[in-house]
Symmetry: C2
DNA sequence: TCTTTACTAGAGAGATCACTCTATTAACAT
DNA sequence: ATGTTAATAGAGTGATCTCTCTAGTAAAGA
């Protein structure tokens, strides 16, 4: 009897999934057809359905993969000491510059808005991310980096909303000045999150004072 | 010879458009078919194409209508004296509570991300809204209500991003506490926008001091 | 070596989509 | 009253979509 080789099987599945991600990024969940995915992956329809039971299964696998990756990214962020710099670096790299993240994020949210199964996945993911941010905020609060008067969960919600919103920025304005936008986001976050003691001077110095004691995590 | 009655024609067009909006809200731009729209409007396909040359034309008309309505909403906001309260009232009513706005906004952005024609429309709209917010911010700055150190255009971009992000919040978390979220958004906006002089006290008093001199615009 | 089963191809079924074409009815101008 | 054209219906067209079915090939265990 011949047995299925799990390693080979998983590798092939991964290849198909990558092709599918390219297609979905290019044309959207509804715009990309299984035929497109087959062409992109260089396989036949029968072959595709040997690895995935349906189109929605491909999308779900893709979302799971995306969630894994964003969790990994988050772990990396968590090693940083400064919430604001960490968040900004993440926003600039992933939200403002990385097109697929912008598109798939929007597509996923739009789909979740009308597909209950999809919504479940997004809600679960959001919950996980919120918990991570809230934990981090709590830690930052106990270290005096973040205003202890802010509710961590609600603040995490707002941070997530800011990330979502920044993903829409380059779409709304393709000529967006990313450096300037990042700088303004930084100002906003510092003023929002800093403990009140740090906010007692004039506008510009206030920003500096709030961010100086924190380590930078710029990736480049 | 019989002439077309522009009033009657426009009224019928409007009815069909309303039906289309309901369909697009329910199923998305790609998910809603012309057959669905016909059923919803109670007309035949031939009839639909008597009023609109194509499906994309219906969507464009819908977006134009949305832009008109958001411009109207904005005019109303502009009559308010306080940016922050005005923005918050708008966010709470339109973004956090009004489902169609959440869905159609996401769908429109997702479509714009891959359809250049669509992108043009969204970009034009965004530009108009940004100009409105920037004007308002400038006025608020000259009145000492908003930190004059903030660049109005860049700040407007961020406000738009916040609005976009808040529209995703109820989708990411259907059990969202809207009151609490509005309160946190308010804290964030006050700390972000207030002139530096207002930010010299402790956390809670700071919020109060920044918001007290401004007139409230609560709709209810 | 031989059998079994995974791997792979591709035709095509059945549904659905955006849209067209033809035909009928109804309202206005003369 | 009558001709002209708008308003409306609905069958149908060709394209495309997801997914199935049959069948051939290759590899691993007996």
């Amino acid at each position: 009897m011949r047995k299925v080789d799990p390693v080979k099987h998983e590798r092939k599945r991964g290849e198909i999934l990558d092709a599918a991600i390219r297609c979905f990024t290019r044309d959207g969940f509804r715009g990309a057809s299984t035929t497109d995915i087959c062409t992109e992956a260089g396989i036949s329809p029968g072959h595709l359905y040997h690895y995935f039971p349906s189109k929605i299964a491909i999308i779900e696998a893709m979302i799971d993969l995306g969630l894994c990756r964003s969790a990994e990214r988050f772990e990396k962020i968590l090693t940083a000491t400064d919430v604001i710099e960490a968040l900004l670096a993440d926003i600039e790299e992933t939200s403002l510059r990385f097109r697929p993240a912008q598109i798939l994020n929007l597509d996923g949210l739009a789909e979740a808005a009308r597909n209950p199964e999809f919504a479940k996945i997004i809600e679960r993911h959001t919950e996980a991310v919120r918990r991570m941010w809230a934990d981090f905020l709590r830690r930052a609060q106990s270290q005096g980096r973040v205003d202890p008067g802010l509710d961590p969960e609600a603040t995490a919600n707002i941070l997530i909303a800011i990330i979502d919103g920044s993903r829409a920025m380059p779409i709304r304005n393709p000529k967006l000045d990313i450096k300037q936008s990042t700088a303004h986001l930084k100002t906003m976050l510092i003023r929002f999150l800093s403990p009140p003691e740090a906010g007692s001077a004039a506008s510009k110095p206030r920003d500096q004072r709030a961010s100086r004691p924190l380590t930078l995590v710029r990736k480049r």
